[in-house]
Symmetry: C2
């Protein structure tokens, strides 16, 4: 927006616009800039004014909702007629004010399937090769995705054997003892570890050593830390998978429920804006688990901005902290149901390609 | 076999037997023991005799074909009527005597799709977040899987930007300079790196520090080595994905061509055995690229055992060594075509579950 870098979808071929729901990534790009200086906001409203923009839809997680709220507040203070609607989207599923976030169901599905597939591979080999497999899961602040891997147990009871959640302080001896027990009982051990795992001191077990514009530390490689522990302390062969962006961009295995809901929150955002609402986020409210029924509503951005929804205690099984409850499974199960359609061509997915044309600029360039 | 641990598929429910082609991993387990002592062979032939086994089908890569050849040779020397047939199967695709190996097409498809999906994610973020993405690829001795990622370019020209093959000595300065050039030109850089990458001295760039029973060094983590290089030398934000077993066990995204061929090599093995052949491996011979036509034949195990097929020079583009030729693309393209069917239930794949029953033992236990 600050760069006056605007796309007019009405100018793009309809076949490409229609391919957007089949395409991973953010088709208009993504942004991690924290809007705070007066100069930033002044520029933003200049661009909005120059192009006669009446609606501002902002799609993302906690930080994005904070930004949207700031835009709405400043616009209102200036008496601008701008309507600002937040559209939730984060695989981390850690936004408050909504039952769940678009993106989460598909990443949860990816994670559960990854556990099922690699578990069969591991089981094949455990007699005289690798016996421990660690899958490192995304989730910057909360263990939603790691916890969702427990859905694998619907098809392979007890799998994954251990889930390491950021909500449960990590104690190495307790962990190694649980791995050892599992190996004695089952001959192999499948572990899902959240990247944001913290020790009893509240410090991350593993970080990449740098942060982003919002002060979030870049996490990662906790799986390799655990691999080293197991190899050195238990002398077992360990493999670690670090899916990284694959966990959130594997569009080919998206959940149909998620695919539909992601489009529905967009429609709801348009309806809210045209009905005159502003400074709110679309929420998904769950009416019932079985049958799975949701309705779409709005929640003030102020209630959402900058807050984090961690796993509630009722979703973590009492005891060693390495397992989740049936309540968690019942919560996630409907979100992974169904397989979203793909556009396949010659064995590869076909994605949207926009023309690269931009709306002609009306303002001078802005030094970002 | 040495443990007299035998399954009779006729005793298993037909629905489960029919689900085996939809199931990742090795349904009867896998084995990395090198048969060499006379005691091992004596035991093997005792088990074969006790259960009146006439056919021995062995499924795997180079090391497995070496084992199959040894069994056939010893059986013939002893005048046993055993017929031994090797069935090729390795995502590494490095068996000689066959155009390609079952498993490779599906892993190649996985790799190309992983590049496409993460590339869109990276492209979204590159303006002010991560700019380099590294995908680490399996391939113990040869760069087939890493090279296959070049199929992504059919949908996104020029992607991946750089492919690091074990057949091309890795020179850090040359690599960093290519990354830097790509970033200047495109604003982001997608890299696929083979785990078996070697320096000009012929040593692996990165190893996990332990080996297997065949003396193969356990590879891995080369992606993290490259990530550290780029961060420290170019000061760019880098993400690395290490799919590990996901690259070979992601059954949900198997190639239909591969799915059909894997079953066809099994049928051919049975035909060869019942026609009286022994000490041979089923081969897939390519008759033509377009249309894609193959025929199934047999090749003596002696010609296959212990040999490795690396990428031929005509598949590596002359120049910097970071790209492959159209000939490589034409070779791999038909192998990833089509999507193999899955059995889905409630958003998760359904796999075969055998009963766990075993054929009753007739011999004393064997100390393995």
């Amino acid at each position: 927006m600050l760069g006056e870098d605007l796309v007019d979808l009405c100018e793009e071929p309809m076949a490409e616009v229609e391919a957007i729901p089949f395409t991973p990534g953010a088709i208009f790009g993504s942004c991690r800039r924290r809007l705070k200086s007066d100069a930033d906001f002044e520029r933003l409203f200049q661009v909005i004014d120059a192009h006669d923009i009446g609606y501002f839809f902002y799609n993302g997680g906690n930080d994005s909702m904070e930004t949207a709220h700031a835009v709405a507040t400043r616009a209102a203070a200036l008496g601008l007629p701008l309507r600002v609607i937040g559209i939730p989207k984060t695989v981390d599923n850690d936004l408050v004010g909504t039952d769940h976030c678009p993106g989460f169901g598909s990443s949860a599905k990816y994670t559960a399937i990854a556990v099922l597939e690699t578990m069969r591979d591991l089981q094949s080999m455990a007699a005289d090769s690798t016996q421990v497999f660690i899958l490192e899961s995304m989730g910057r602040h909360a263990g939603w995705l790691a916890a969702a891997s427990a859905l694998a147990s619907y098809r392979e009871p007890g799998i994954p054997h251990l889930i390491l959640l950021p909500e449960v302080p990590f104690v190495e001896e307790k962990f190694l003892s649980a791995v050892d027990d599992t190996l004695r009982k089952h001959g192999f051990c499948t572990i899902v570890a959240a990247e944001a795992l913290k020790g009893p001191d509240g410090q991350f077990v593993s970080t990449a050593g740098y942060g982003d514009a919002f002060g979030n530390v870049q996490l990662g490689k906790v799986g390799l830390h655990l691999e080293r522990c197991i190899r050195s302390q238990l002398d077992r062969r360990v493999h670690t998978a670090l899916p990284d962006y694959l966990q959130r961009s594997s569009r080919h295995i998206a959940s149909y429920t998620d695919f539909c809901e992601a489009q529905e929150v967009g429609r709801k955002a348009v309806r809210l804006a045209t009905e005159g609402h502003t400074d709110c986020m679309v929420s998904i409210d769950r009416v019932s688990h079985v049958p799975y029924v949701v309705r779409y509503d709005a929640v003030p951005l102020e209630m959402v901005a900058g807050k984090t929804k961690v796993l509630p205690a009722e979703f973590i099984l009492e005891g060693d902290g390495f397992h989740v409850t049936e309540a968690l499974r019942a919560y996630v199960a409907p979100l992974i149901r169904g397989e979203a359609p793909n556009l396949w061509m010659e064995g590869l997915p076909r994605y949207a390609h926009l023309s690269g044309r931009r709306v002609p600029c009306k303002l001078d360039a802005f030094e970002t």
